[in-house]
């Protein structure tokens, strides 16, 4: 509860108030996330093994379960100052529309050219690659958000950036491709003839339009087979959640600046990086027993890794070249609905989020597409900003909570993460507006097929 008259529409921090350290929530966790396993030996991956694929300093961050605060290098903080702090916005107009006594705040990460929070980790990963003296980095991208963010980051540090873009997206989203090219990235439709794995897949499936799993395999091969290159990833990994902690820290500082005490923190969950970053400092307080927030992760009913998945070791990619990770998962063989809009369709979930959920520290819920887009349009029409479909899952949950407050008369304070702009998902909005959007919930049988692809490893 807050004295509302004092709160502006948008709370900005000054440069001096911006966080200077990443917040590593693993330092607070009683049960640490399970280690990555070598898919060949089943043994925990050693730093040396990971360093063949990832940048050295990022491997250290990946494995560090103890250091609560990790300094953000000056060079990264300078870049953050160009597009951060992001605003914490009081959704006055939405509150009024809902006629709720609740207060709703959203942390908006879509204001930069990449259109999402992905840039927060991209710039950090590019920095560490540059510092290591590398020539360039490789990655995969589906819809293109991560690829765009990484291109911007590499351009800034004058680093080569090779993006393997799922072929169907490459062809259907030429604008995304050309944004990356504008920032100097090389964009290759995947599968391609530039890698052995790409050639193999093309030989076996000549007409394939590609998949994220295949693009990951190509990007990894492209990195490890050349001198001076490493592979980078935009979600799921511990290091990515660490970098995204700037979201949660800025949110917390902004709230404290105005004496606002949140009751619940709500975020959407795909791989878990934005959600993990948003909740990190709040989760720390919760674990230490200093505060008792409700922390709610929201996922699509069509890809329900937390709400209907299993907590087990699984392959991170369909090509099975990456280490095994213990996570809430639907199985790497789970096939998400082709009608599913936006991101949030990864079969697994960040190991950190998975462990916190397993420990009962996070609530999870899922929504179907149509109700999510209904909430998105309702939000856009009163708040102005057009939300990304991913973010709109969090909006839907926040609206539901605010309407509960209307019934009970409680003046709860709701904070949600608005991770990106909806500009790049107008095809999905069009389907919603034309009444052509399909809702889809996998049957138990379909889930069982996914679970059947889990590797036989006890976690």
């Amino acid at each position: 509860m807050t004295k509302t008259n004092e709160i502006p529409y948008k709370i900005y921090l000054s440069e001096e108030e911006m966080p200077t350290q990443y917040y590593n929530v693993r330092a607070d966790m009683i049960n640490k996330p399970a280690p990555l396993l070598n898919p060949g030996t089943g043994e925990p991956m050693k730093a040396e093994e990971l360093e063949a694929v990832f940048c050295k300093e990022l491997v250290q961050q990946e494995l560090d379960n103890d250091t609560r605060y990790i300094d953000i290098p000056e060079e990264i903080r300078e870049f953050y100052k160009m597009y951060r702090p992001s605003p914490l916005v009081r959704a006055y107009c939405l509150e009024k529309k809902l006629d709720t006594p609740a207060e709703i705040y959203y942390k908006y990460e879509g204001g930069n050219t990449s259109g999402s929070h992905k840039l927060n980790s991209a710039i950090a990963q590019a920095y560490y690659a540059k510092k290591q003296g590398l020539k360039g980095v490789t990655t995969e991208t589906g819809a293109g958000q991560w690829g765009t963010a990484l291109s911007m980051a590499c351009s800034y540090f004058d680093l080569e950036c090779d993006v393997y873009m799922v072929k169907v997206s490459y062809e259907q989203k030429p604008f995304r491709r050309d944004v990356m090219r504008t920032y100097g990235a090389t964009v290759t439709p995947s599968p391609s003839e530039t890698t052995e794995v790409g050639k193999k897949i093309l030989a076996e499936h000549p007409g394939t339009t590609g998949s994220l799993g295949c693009a990951i395999s190509e990007a990894v091969e492209s990195a490890v087979s050349r001198e001076g290159y490493r592979y980078v990833l935009g979600s799921v990994l511990n290091q990515v959640l660490l970098h995204q902690s700037v979201i949660g820290q800025e949110t917390k500082i902004a709230l404290e600046k105005y004496g606002i005490e949140p009751d619940m923190i709500i975020g959407c969950c795909g791989g878990g990086s934005n959600f993990g970053g948003l909740i990190s400092p709040f989760m720390g307080e919760k674990i230490r027993g200093e505060k008792d927030y409700r922390i709610i992760g929201v996922e699509p009913a069509s890809c329900p890794s937390l709400t209907r998945g299993k907590y087990a070791y699984d392959f991170c990619d369909t090509g099975m070249v990456c280490p095994l990770a213990k996570m809430y998962t639907l199985g790497s063989g789970f096939i998400p609905s082709p009608n599913h809009a936006g991101g949030l369709r990864y079969h697994g979930m960040s190991g950190i989020i998975s462990q916190l959920y397993d420990d009962g520290l996070i609530e999870a819920r899922s929504y179907e597409q149509t109700e999510v887009f209904k909430a998105a349009v309702e939000f856009a029409r009163v708040e102005g900003t057009l939300p990304a479909p991913e973010s709109s899952h969090a909006i839907k949950a926040a609206i539901d909570e605010a309407l509960k407050c209307k019934e009970t008369g409680e003046k709860k304070v709701i904070v949600l993460g608005l991770t990106g702009t909806g500009y790049f998902d107008m095809v999905a909005y069009q389907k919603y507006l034309d009444g052509e959007m399909d809702d889809y919930i996998p049957t138990d049988e379909e889930l069982e097929k996914g679970f059947a692809t889990l590797p036989p490893i006890e976690g």
Copy 2:
């Protein structure tokens, strides 16, 4: 010149510092802009005549050459607080890249969902329409920026919004169309069967893909032929420049907050609304002799209304239904190059800007497309933000001025208006990246053809 150490990357104003009044630069002008003329009688348009087409209070603003400050109604200021103030950004990284002693600042208006400054006037026009008790407004849109902004504004005030969208854009830019629909607007491809003028044009040119002139005519007919509707326009008019004065005022307050004394203000010129808004308070000081800024308008060499046009009365639309305006113009029959990217292809220029230019208070220059996109990419790669092609004309001029400073060693302070994001013009970027961009400068003969369409009226 400024003490640079103190300046953050981005200067934000607090809500309390935001302007509460529009700044009407006409009050400062010695020679007022010429009146609009009735195309039938050749007499100055009376308020009553204009009120048949435009909202009553907007007509007053259109005709008011005397009131320097006009209060911004509370309701509009509340909306501004959702997406304003826009940041004034110090382009530290561009300065470093250019190795210039100059300081470069840009006022970035592309951070809202409409992607440009157009929202500043859209919300004002929607407010006055609502206040007048109207049911809705009509307008035309080409690429869709203005239509998007107006849709957002009408959605906020619960007002109907009928947008006539040039058919070729309607078909080639379905995303823009669907953003407008998301905000509840009705979008009709023009020419259409919904108006008499549309039917007539379709009968005469069955395969036509439309034009802005035709869409204007349809929007005006649709407004005047129905009870409770008015027509609104996103540029050129005095009222629009008035609303856009929030840009210049915020810029001025931000500069003063840090004791920064600009030497030159640079903006791109299409219809003149963003440029007019940006320069307004600075121009006031210049006219009153309090300061001596260089004020530079930049236009494309392919549509050079200021640098090669005539100062004369002309038709505002190709359908010739609108009042006649005295302006720097290429003639309403001038056909801009089909290869020309982005906006800035209107045949004429705001009457205010035209008069100020004629009075020698503004410098004008033009650039060809390729050099503009080169500057845009250079900017994006170091500053992060991807600029709109329109805005990139101002960036090109700013870079040129900064490089002059490098030669002379002068520490000039350059302020430029960055009106929008380049997201929606990736086709143009793609052409540039692929070396397929055409430069085009109209020949004197081609200009003469345009001038031949000027009406025989002495101004």
